[in-house]
Subunit: 294 residues, 2 copies
Amino acid sequence: MNALSHKDRRVLIVGLGLIGGSYAQALSRAGYEVGGIARKRETIDYALSKGFIGEGTTEVTENFVGRYGTVVFALYPHVLVEWIRRYQGMLAPGTLITDVTGVKVSLLRSLAPILRKDVEFVPAHPMAGRECSGIENSDCSMFRDANFIVTPAEGNTPQAVAAVETLARDMGFRHISRLSPESHDEMIGFLSQLTHCIAVSLMACKESSHLVDYTGDSFRDLTRIARINEDMWCELFMDNRDELLSQMDLFLGKFTELREALRCGDEESMKAMMRLSTSRRALFDRQKEIEEGD
Amino acid sequence: MNALSHKDRRVLIVGLGLIGGSYAQALSRAGYEVGGIARKRETIDYALSKGFIGEGTTEVTENFVGRYGTVVFALYPHVLVEWIRRYQGMLAPGTLITDVTGVKVSLLRSLAPILRKDVEFVPAHPMAGRECSGIENSDCSMFRDANFIVTPAEGNTPQAVAAVETLARDMGFRHISRLSPESHDEMIGFLSQLTHCIAVSLMACKESSHLVDYTGDSFRDLTRIARINEDMWCELFMDNRDELLSQMDLFLGKFTELREALRCGDEESMKAMMRLSTSRRALFDRQKEIEEGD
């Protein structure tokens, strides 16, 4: 039994990059009828040849778009907003729209004044990715251990939210949850964006090629995410600017506190911070061990 | 053919914790005659039962200590200095001494005025470890992929330096190199101590147990080393204080630069930093891939 009606099992993916391609692959495997829109013909051809989509086009036409009950936007946020502005007239009334964007509040703010009232946008964030991009790197197995977060917007219907959660379940996401757009952006600002800021700053500190031979795991661990798609991350940072600035300030405060304790030789404060950090991090280890033991 | 004479193949390990125990295990396997000194009888019994040592004691006596041509100190730095102060009279003339301490300049400064002139101290740093401690966690397989750094001190003889490198080779270290004590401490300040400061500060930012479900790899990667032995790390930080403070300031400068670019919406500066970070980190990936491809 599936919560989606016949028309909802026809899903259009707009943007066939790494995530859009993986969505298409996962949904096709799950028995959905999947269509795709991409800028380049090669992308469509690749998706067709791999069976990720049943049909695809580089031209946005009402005839094509209007046939789908669900549309997933796997685009950069500003491209998504531009698409809605130009093409939303082609969407069938009642279309369910969702997205994959990593920042929510600013997107909702941009869409609120322009989105048609007879379509419904349920924002979502699949927390999966790779260090590479492009449909040729698509691989829906990346969803298996990943979290999927729905961030219902004002006015979303329970049916539409449930439908997006069904999509996520059918794509194989491990853990599906709901957060408000604000809580989501705060969480992402801390867990993902701040950590990328730290990794980039650390790597920017010095020319370090002569250090490669001496690096242990700690430096490698802290800088693994320092390889970064600058266009995408810059846009995500800017879209979450106020929240990220306050997360950066929180970190700056703690780091400066540790620096001051060291400068003053205040060993008790240093040790207290290390004990706190150790006990907090232990929770993450236990959780991981439980997962691995599954 | 071995560079060490008969007497040099008798090695005494003072301090049978995680590293001392693993040294004992590795050297016994390599055919050395290994003795051990520890504070607790259980530690000696464990080391004997596992065949890590051929003999061991909790009492420091001239009869025992004087029989070894090589002595490895696997102790906290201040305990090492105290041991030398109290017991160095028991060392045989010509004894080769080495250590496993993570910070070098301050240790050499402490030992210089007190160390007997008829023994030779060659400082070394095995860059291996575990998140746990104690001889029961000893496992010399941790040396297999690890770096071993000798930091020759003023007045070290080529023979003594070569002898310590032979020990490292016989214990199975992958990469053995030499650095001055100053370069070593600068490198460790950046690669190891700064990264631990960052991880501890990040973990100290907020109570995060409710975030466990949402963490992707980036937060886990950056905080893996936030579980930390506060006594050991506090001592290492204090022993390398000036160097670590300047590494922390270097990082603070870059992080603040990124924060300012974000605050001002200076996307070009943000992207330039991300591009730099991406290209620098790529070197580490390539190196790692080459290693894994071995």
